[in-house]
């Protein structure tokens, strides 16, 4: 694995957006598939020791993905995503919300925008997560506040950690 792959994680207060950028050592089409095909998504999207389980996924504009994060004890936390825009191998947007097991969303959710660009076998993915509710953003900021300064202060350390894995 390359050691110089970018990873950036920031919060932009003025635009109420969390920004995450990451490079991957793989061709664009493969990375696109990993973000848009349920059998691949389920293999990486849940941070260990959680597992992801997609009940269904229709990757088309207006289509939805209904999935759960499953804890080691088997507890399921459901979320529902609706695709609002798709430009193959370039961009897709979705609306994400926590949900109960019967697909009832807990609103408000958040708007996710994914941008993909490939160059020389490396693919850069930029994700922005926009929270429409100002109140919700305030809560979110409390969580992400330090993340921004850490990005600047600890970028070297972070890259080192990443490359060790």
């Amino acid at each position: 694995m390359k050691n110089d792959l970018l990873f950036d994680f920031t919060v932009d207060k003025s635009t109420k957006t969390v920004l995450i950028t990451r490079e991957f050592d793989a061709e664009l089409s493969l990375v696109w598939d990993a973000f848009t095909r349920p059998e691949l998504l389920d293999q990486w999207v849940a941070p260990e020791p959680y597992k992801a389980k997609t009940k269904y996924m229709n990757f088309e504009v207006g289509g939805k993905r209904f999935y759960a994060m499953v804890s080691p004890e088997g507890k399921e936390s459901w979320a529902i995503q609706e695709y609002t825009s798709i430009t193959p191998k370039t961009n897709f947007k979705m609306y994400n919300a926590f949900a109960d097991a019967d697909e009832n969303p807990e609103l408000p959710g958040s708007e996710w925008d994914h941008n993909f660009s490939g160059q020389n076998g490396t693919t850069k993915v930029s994700i922005s997560i926009y929270n429409e509710s100002l109140e919700r953003l305030e809560k979110l900021e409390q969580g992400f506040k330090i993340g921004m300064s850490m990005t600047l202060d600890n970028l070297d350390k972070l890259l080192e950690t990443l490359s060790q894995k």
């Binding site: 050592d25 793989a26 990993a34 990486w44 507890k75 969580g143 894995k165």
Partner: protein, 108 residues
């Protein structure tokens, strides 16, 4: 009773609670629904988090919302690390998956 802040993050359930309320403030019921343990057990974890001064309560109408105490954030870089680690872990898992798929393709 005051507790050491590290006690807050020593337990996986409490880390999960912190991660959830970092995303948005939650009512006790909404929070409990994310866990398979009893509400009493969730309450106990919240009490410990309150004693660590990480979680504070806010009354909004009839509902109580738990939220992170912003003043305590500096002491808990560790949990921010935890939150960032979710994305790190996720992406590292994706790295592995991409590499596995690429290798399979090369073998063919």
């Amino acid at each position: 009773m005051r507790r050491d802040v590290f006690q807050a993050i020593a337990d996986p359930t409490r880390r999960a609670i912190i991660t959830l309320i970092a995303l948005h403030a939650m009512t006790p019921n909404a929070l409990a629904e994310h866990f398979d343990i009893t509400r009493q057990a969730v309450s106990k974890h919240i009490r410990i988090l309150s004693e660590c001064q990480i979680v504070k309560q806010e009354q909004a109408g009839r509902e109580i919302y738990y939220q992170l105490d912003i003043n305590k954030i500096e002491e808990i870089d560790q949990w921010v690390e935890q939150l960032r680690k979710i994305w790190e872990t996720r992406f590292n898992q994706l790295d592995k998956l991409l590499s596995t798929i690429k290798n399979k393709k090369n073998e063919k």
